[in-house]
Symmetry: C2
Subunit: 198 residues, 2 copies
């Protein structure tokens, strides 16, 4: 599966091949356990040829993590905006966010586990997306609290708990017994429904 | 803070120093990003002197991960056995498991994130502890479901969701705004209370 959207032409294909190679290696051995040489070699390039496309291993890491966060936010935000009823919208949002993580456990794992290894500037860019993910859930919880649809003691902690469910999937999904993104997304949406008192 | 219980005597102190050094390095750079030489050097030893205590970097990783899992299970199981009332026991169990992860985010992070890097034999040993952690929560949920204290659609998925809350803390705890293990443990215990329909 493509790690990021395919850019047009030969250069785009090569960049995609580099990102796919880096994703496989980072999942297997982590960012610090992977060398630039290995990424280039797995993509069928020399290290020098790789530098034409990405100036550093750090830049490859940023591309993957930034892409992963944007895609997850996009899935969440689209679902959150799908209804004016906060109950319905939250259920859709949890389903979508869970489904995204269950469908992209490799990219999701890099996005979460290698995030601390981003340089300051890259860290700040991705942190902005993380804040927006958090805000999207909090807005729904605040809306539902105002209308009385939800009964929460702490909106901030509830948002963290809801996001934790989906994000924790990158640690173990799929398992031998649970491997269908639809099943886990549906179940987590129901669990959150109960959690918020909807 | 000591990564494992301190063994008696000079050799025990040295081993503890090696484990502490390895824990700091694995948290910062991951298992594959850390060399045996760095661990030894941070503990004030030569690589050869380190091998007297641990035959390999893998053995150090296993000691940390095995210890982390046993401590987390111990906190969980003790709390789960503290009451015959499944509602009370579950609340205590979630509080204890959350509190352990919030109090040991470094060791907890290694236990979770570096777990896939254990050799087959070590992996199997720790997997047994993980199964027991899962079973401890499931037993409470099954007990409460029988007595009617809980209303669950899926015990297995509910157990995974409950454990996800605590375990996800190793990813971000403490944050700028949330840094008290008591606060997060209390809030997550209440959230789970609602989640299970208790």
């Amino acid at each position: 599966m493509a790690a990021t959207e395919t850019a047009n032409g030969k250069a785009g294909e090569t960049r995609q091949r580099l990102l796919d190679a880096a994703q496989d290696l980072f999942v297997t051995k982590g960012y610090h356990g992977t060398s630039t040489r290995e990424i280039a070699s797995r993509a069928g390039l020399s290290p020098a040829a790789m530098y034409v496309h990405y100036p550093s291993k750090q830049e490859v890491l940023f591309q993957l993590i930034d892409h992963g966060h944007r895609e997850a936010l996009s899935a969440l935000a689209t679902a959150a905006a799908s209804s004016d009823d906060p109950k319905v919208a939250l259920r859709a949002a949890v389903f979508a966010f869970t489904h995204w993580h269950a469908s992209h456990p490799g990219l999701g794992r890099i996005a979460q586990y290698e995030f601390p290894y981003l340089d300051d500037e890259n860290h700040e860019k991705v942190a902005a997306t993380r804040v927006e993910i958090d805000r999207t859930v909090r807005r729904l919880l605040e809306q539902g609290s105002r209308t009385g649809a939800f009964a929460l003691t702490d909106v901030r902690m509830s948002a963290l708990a809801i996001l934790a469910l989906s994000i924790d999937l990158v640690r173990w999904f799929p398992s031998r017994t649970i491997s269908d993104p639809d099943v886990v997304a549906r179940e987590y949406a129901m669990i959150v429904d109960r959690m918020v008192g909807a």
